[in-house]
Amino acid sequence: MNLHQFRQILVTTVLLPLVLLLLLALVLAWQFQRTLREQRRIDHTDRITALLNELERLVVDQETGLRGYQLTHDPTTLEPYQNAEGALHGTLDRLLYLVRDDPDQFMRLRQIRDSHEQWMGFAGKALDNLRAGKIFGDTALDLNGGQLMATLRTRIGAMTQIEVKRRDEEVESTNSQVRTLMAILILSSIGTGIVLGIYTQRNMRKVSGAFRASLEEAHERADELIESRQWLQTTLESVGDALIACNHQRRVELMNPVAQHLTGWTLEDAKGRRLETVFRTIDEETREEVKNLGSWADPKDPAATNHSLLLSKDGTEYLIDQSAAPIRDAKGEVAGVVLVFRDVTDLRRRDEALMAHEKLAVAGRLSASIAHEIHNPLDSVANLHYLMANETDAVLLQRYLAMAQQELNRTLQISRAMLGLYREPKAPVEVDLRELLESVLLLLDRQLKDQSIAIDRRLGDGVSVQGFPGELRQVFTNLITNAGEASGRGGRVQILVESSFPADSRPGALVTITDSGPGIEEAHQAKLFKPFFTTKGEQGTGLGLWVSRGIVEKHGGIIELTNSTDPIFPGAAVRVYLPALGPAAAMAGAGNYRGQQPLSQA
């Protein structure tokens, strides 16, 4: 039942009794009117009856007066006769007026009047006789007068009889009407009562049913609410990520256990405090406190997912990954912010360990060919030593010594190149890319020769960038080894070093390594830089490209792997752009690089 239906019920509950009572009142009024009318008719009949009685009395008075005068001859006895004659005309007129609507009675009244006039004619003759002195009456005349009087009185009696009878009928009708009225009154009262009772009961049942239903619904809703809160609570408590929810004033409303653990604040203490107080972060590089937390709510802000250090209440630092999203209310207004973050300290350590491992693995994989490279000159030196032991010719000795020096220099070069993979300056240094690639090729020389891979070196002069030479060696060792392996025995690899101005026009270097292998399968393209992805089976760790990209990005550069369009080197082409500023460029605005047009289009 909705509110509208409820109102309707309320209105009808009030209106129905009113309407019924009104109807009842109308019926009663009508009945009352009828009874009143009937009463008036009775009154009318009563008046006629009274006038007829009066008329009879006057007639009798006249006859009595006339007879007295006939007997006594005393004129005073004639007085009633004379009085009645005067009143009689008035009474007759009133009666005629009263019965004007009743033709039967009107006719009877006229007959009475006629009879009375005839009798008056007799009375006039009788009086004339008496006045003329006839003391003895005319018997025939008197007889006639008596008959006339009898007729007159009979007529009056008959008319009176009719009126009396009519009155009885009217009284009976009135009584019957009153009874009907009473019956209607009682019945309609009972009817109205029953109708109202049933209707009200029905509506009450409806309303109470609806009330019970809404009460049950409210209970159900409350249960659902409790249940959903429980769900939310359990979910929040079980997720591995830390979560802080704030209201629109950026005051903490909710923290899950992980967030409480990482920030060092209990929810009890943190509730209502400013987010910046509970969630203190510093920039990983600059160690400056991050003040502007507002921008996190904007998912487009690249800072929203940057790594930063979270300072726990107890001073512990956690490297975290964070993201934030606005909470919107029903109207779409920002009602708060949810901040999600996770401790990536272990993840970072794992990555660092993996990178260190990969660095060693690169050297390890090179060790066999490097041993070979070192054994060759050592073999020569040993042979020269054998020759010199029994040689006395100074010229020959000099020649042997020079040869030995040459071979030792080569050994030194190789061991330096090898060490270069490990040794790293603390800060970025100027790195000549040509020199760097030469030393990498020296280490790879044996490996490439064994595979009969022809290297097309196009190493431009004077192309240098700021960077960490060991790391860059590792990158190019990886990339050239990959190119060699992709090309296979007898393959070709081109190495191109040139100055470059990529999309953002910052000076830098572009190293392009193209091979004659089969190129990259489309299915692999997206996974190339993912850790542990390898197409070399047991031979590869799947870390080479992942580490390489990490290093290149640390240098503020971009690495890109596509299929070559060069017919001589039709395989894969890997392009490495390094900004001249090196890692400084990465800090200045790494965000500018992401999502830019690819190098190949630059």
Binding site: H372, I374, L378, D379, M403, S452
Partner: protein, 128 residues
């Protein structure tokens, strides 16, 4: 006794030259080649008593060259030189003896002489 002719194949210029000087001092006549293909053509045209072969070479490696040599002259003494400590099984089955680079000239000469003596009774190397 005429000088035994040794064919040395190695892609390392300087190492090859020094090895030639060592062997010449020990009384061998030495022919050199810088890769398997040119080595095989010398082997086909010259009278060779023994071959000293480097294992790791661009193009054909020492193992492949040794297999061809063995096919052409099954009794030819072949000494495989290698910077690697361990050579593959199939290579070891083909060659007569192997030596590790850096063992020194003395070991090389001793092993080579030993090979030539073992082969002498078959009437090819010993006649010179």
């Amino acid at each position: 006794m005429s000088r035994p002719v040794i064919l040395c194949i190695d892609d390392e210029d300087l190492g090859l030259e020094i090895r030639k000087m060592v062997l010449e001092r020990e009384g061998f006549s030495v022919l050199t080649a810088k890769d398997g293909v040119s080595g095989l053509s010398i082997f086909d045209t010259e009278e060779i008593d023994a071959v000293v072969l480097d294992y790791a070479m661009p193009g054909m490696d020492g193992g492949q060259v040794a297999a061809i040599l063995r096919k052409r002259k099954p009794h030819m003494p072949i000494l495989m030189l290698s910077a690697y400590v361990a050579l593959p099984e199939e290579v070891m089955r083909v060659v007569s003896v192997s030596a590790t680079k850096g063992d020194g000239a003395f070991t090389l000469v001793e092993k080579l002489k030993g090979l030539l003596q073992t082969n002498a009774p078959d009437g090819r190397g010993g006649s010179r």
